[in-house]
Point group: C2
Chain length 317, copies 2
């Protein structure tokens, strides 16, 4: 059966934090941690670990920095075997913020990178491996950056020079069609013989779950989801659909359904994500959603025709 | 290129009518007709033509009956080459409601049937062919009824005894996974040598668009969509995504985007469709969405865990 060995990583707090500047309170994060743990998911990514010397802790919330101390407050007293991940960004990290893995509640560090910076991601990952962490590299904006040789060279560098466990294909723009997912899966699996390959969808064209199914059908070792699909712009592959789909072991969907009822219906009224036309438009046009995110802050937020014609012509204000 | 010859049918008013008892006013239907015509879509299905002796015109709106006279009011004065379709249901039709095609604005009559009633659908379609209409048979609830021989026998009967132009695979429960769509497409294409094969998705698991892409990639001659995905329960494949995807001829997305801004954002506040957890649950469990639709009318509408545990155990009140 496909997906027999597929692992699942929940990145609700990490990707969801991109739409509220990481201002989830501890109570909320703890509820997510409890429910996701109870569902049987393998990893939970609790935030970015960016440097508080580069970003203001007054502007950004706890989960922009995700210290070991904050993580310990979340997990204290909860019975769970889930592994904890944090994400790092190239050039936004203070390496001194990482203790050796055996002194930390964190199991895995995922480094997010564009194709052009893969060498830096390899360098950082190797440092995290030296500290004893599992590591992953997430290659972002793959629909824009996969055409040329640079990706192949980057994958070769990861294969030969890094000790990362997983390389994740990240459809940041939510642009990939199912066939493109299959083609990328095959390319990554061929070039990364010693690594696992994962997939992180975005939902701009309502293809988050469908593309994730295709990735699983074509050998994905790990896939990402978020509760109720929360995440930047249109959000991600909904975790509840993913664990409803993977029948090879006993995931529990009920804790996640209850979490949605109790927390996410109200949250969705306060901050927006999901199927929203400007995000579908940037997805179709293979663009970063930032222009659509900016539009949604203006009084023209629902003027879709004008937005489409502006960005498809290439002339933005 | 896949989809080179794929036709598109908009069923916004017909499937959307299932969530408001077909009470769209003429102004609204005319706006939809104008925008969908301008987009370059091939067919527009304006409603059911059910008998007003079997259903009360006081309870149900105009588009439950969709008379030639009402259609003429909608299209009057609008320049358009789009063809008009209506849907009929087995056993709910008065054959006297259909004039010869050359006296009617309707081009195509689609008969919706369960597998068990295919013989009746063939009988009705032949009558409509005698009147000069193009015909289609829509086979509903395919995820429930495709396992046994009965479907193959029904397809044989359609192939041998009918003059229908198109046979549509209808995923009424929104349960199909991409691979199941591919398998059904291959089965229908093999058995229906003289007919076109179409696909009508539902979006309970956010697979409406992804499954429609798979159907196109595997030879669908016709696919259905609705504006902003409106339709029963979770709704349908969004027309705007579909025409954004089909690049083989010049569809115009702008009129549909403008229509969403002007009409559908407000409408969505008044009646609900889309990604709503109880519909995802009935989709996962391969059930008709009626239990979820009933739940949404109660104060327990957002008690997802309880609903899931009740329906997955098989014990409903």
């Amino acid at each position: 059966m496909e997906g027999k060995h597929t692992q699942v990583l929940d990145c609700t707090i990490r990707d969801g934090g991109l739409i509220n500047k990481h201002h989830f309170d501890h109570r909320f994060v703890r509820e997510v941690y409890k429910a996701v743990s109870a569902s049987g998911v393998d990893y939970i990514e609790l935030g970015y670990r960016n440097s508080n010397k580069m970003f203001s802790p007054e502007e950004y919330g706890t989960w922009k920095f995700t210290s070991d101390e904050d993580i310990k407050k979340i997990i204290k007293g909860v019975k769970s075997t889930i592994k904890i991940a944090v994400m790092t960004d190239i050039g936004r990290v203070n390496m001194d913020d990482f203790k050796p893995a055996k002194e930390s509640p964190v199991s895995m560090i995922r480094t997010a990178t564009y194709v052009k910076d893969i060498d830096k991601a390899v360098y950082m990952s190797n440092h995290f491996n030296d500290l004893g962490y599992e590591t992953a590299i997430n290659i972002m904006a793959i629909s824009r950056d996969s055409a040329g040789d640079e990706l192949d060279e980057g994958l070769k560098e990861i294969e030969e020079d890094s000790r990362v466990k997983i390389v994740n294909i990240v459809d940041s723009f939510g642009h990939l069609q199912p066939r493109a997912v299959i083609s990328l899966m095959e390319r990554f699996k061929t070039q990364l013989k010693s690594k696992l390959v994962g997939f992180h969808a975005h939902n701009h064209l309502q293809l988050g779950f469908g593309n994730t199914i295709e990735a699983i059908n074509h050998g994905a070792d790990s896939v990402d989801g978020t509760v109720y699909g929360i995440g930047r712009a249109a959000g991600n592959c909904p975790l509840e659909l993913l664990i409803g789909h993977l029948k090879h072991r006993r995931f529990e969907i009920s804790p996640v359904l209850e979490l949605i009822s109790k927390e996410f219906i109200q949250l969705r009224r306060e901050i927006e994500w999901g199927y929203i036309i400007p995000y579908a438009i940037t997805g179709m046009l293979n663009e970063h959603p930032r222009t659509a995110m900016a539009l949604r802050e203006t009084k023209d937020k629902d003027n879709y025709r004008e937005f489409y014609e502006k960005i498809s012509s290439g002339y933005m204000d």
